[in-house]
Subunit: 254 residues, 2 copies
């Protein structure tokens, strides 16, 4: 093991993709035992949102008793700026959040859904851990981007995730065409996401703005009962394929 | 549910990242219950390698009885060309492999390790399923690229996976500098992999070819006992940080 002596470990703890809204899928169906075991034993957390972390821990406790009563857990929220602007620009110094880890305390990093620090805040904490010589251990769980990519049938040997597209319709169209150009030139699949209530606007812009032969995938409700993944060339998508407001990952490729 | 009537489902079944070599980590520690349950019930498989799939199913059977004795399973290997050249170029028509699925048979797609169709063959099968109107259901399990990305602390809001770098040292150096330029211009984290016995050559080329401020991450032995993830600016990596020949994901970012 490479754990530096006397320091704790930063565990990256993935959470279910249901945002706590569809708890009909048991947590052990999407998180393997090692993840549940580690999560149940941790007493210190860094999170996007303390409330959803408490709800997550309540679900974990049905699988394994928690190391500490919920109200005694130390749950620290990342500051608002980190949520909004992302935290990979080096402006936020997360080292103070890891003070106890230097003294031997293990700590968990979580986001609202899926893997922390992937399409979600958290990378500043991980970066700080490396700078402090703290061991970083990512745990297995659902990652919507990769489930979507695999299920799209698009090129999985060369792909990119580019976050959100612009909201302004002209800027969005321009970005869509830029991404399509990249696909055509390099074959690199381009993945992106949208705030669910804007799914419809994005979807219509895609079908209107892309070339007829470009393939478009959309993956909704991943790991949930209503999971739906489809991928066709633009010309083969039908008007009838409406889109709802469940969290969706979009991808274009050739 | 969106399953078309009378057709089976194509399940994308992730496997442990140990390539069957380090079975000291129990399979239920990296695959959640839904994945194990579905995998144990499937009797038809499409795979990179039938031998490793049988070994995988033997491990699954310790968790849940298989739907059929191993020797009675129908396990179809993808053709060699698909392994070598990848199967996202549309040259290989996988539709015949799904003939039984059109008649109602469920089928599993697996690769040697991790998620099929991500940095591994399989996308031709998924594409064929979409074309045939067959439901595609990705299951949760370990994906080395995303574990590595999260644990690197590099930008997880904008990233790309670009596969393997060239083997020729001059071409490799050129590619490394191209990727670094992309990082500097766009902030997009660049992930790549190497055949393990070439880890050392790639690692030396990275430390030699990149700018001192560029951050480099390497993630080895993900989910295994000897897991080791580190990320520093090039100037902070030390000669003493040698690299072994365990499967490693590399990333550069700023």
């Amino acid at each position: 093991m490479t754990t530096p002596p006397n320091k704790g470990t930063l565990y990256l703890v993935p959470t279910p993709l249901d945002f706590g809204c569809d708890t009909s899928v048991p947590i052990a169906d999407v998180l393997p035992q090692a993840t549940l075991r580690v999560a149940s034993g941790l007493t210190h957390w860094i999170t996007e949102n303390a409330k959803s972390t408490r709800a997550f821990l309540k679900r974990v406790s049905e699988f394994a008793p928690l190391g500490l009563a919920l109200q005694d857990m130390q749950i620290t929220e990342l500051p608002r700026e980190v949520h909004k602007k992302g935290d990979h620009l080096g402006e936020f110094d997360a080292k103070p959040l890891l003070a106890l880890v230097l003294k031997g305390q293990d700590i968990g990093l979580v986001s609202e859904a899926g893997m922390p620090a992937v399409a979600d805040p958290g990378s500043s904490v991980v970066m700080a851990a490396h700078q402090l010589g703290i061991r970083v251990a990512p745990l297995v769980g659902p990652v919507s981007l990769l489930l979507a990519l695999a299920a799209s049938g698009l090129n999985g040997q060369n792909f990119a995730f580019v976050g959100y597209l612009p909201q302004d319709s002209a800027a969005r169209l321009q970005r869509i065409r830029e991404l399509e150009m990249l696909v055509m030139k390099t074959g690199q699949t381009q993945l992106f996401i949208e705030t669910p209530y804007r799914n419809k606007a994005l979807w219509e812009a895609l079908l209107k703005g892309l070339q007829p032969n470009t393939r478009v995938a959309r993956a909704s409700g991943l790991t949930l009962q209503n999971m739906d993944v489809q991928c066709y060339a633009v010309r083969d998508w039908r008007q009838s394929n409406g889109i709802g407001d469940t969290p969706t990952v979009f991808a274009i490729g050739r």
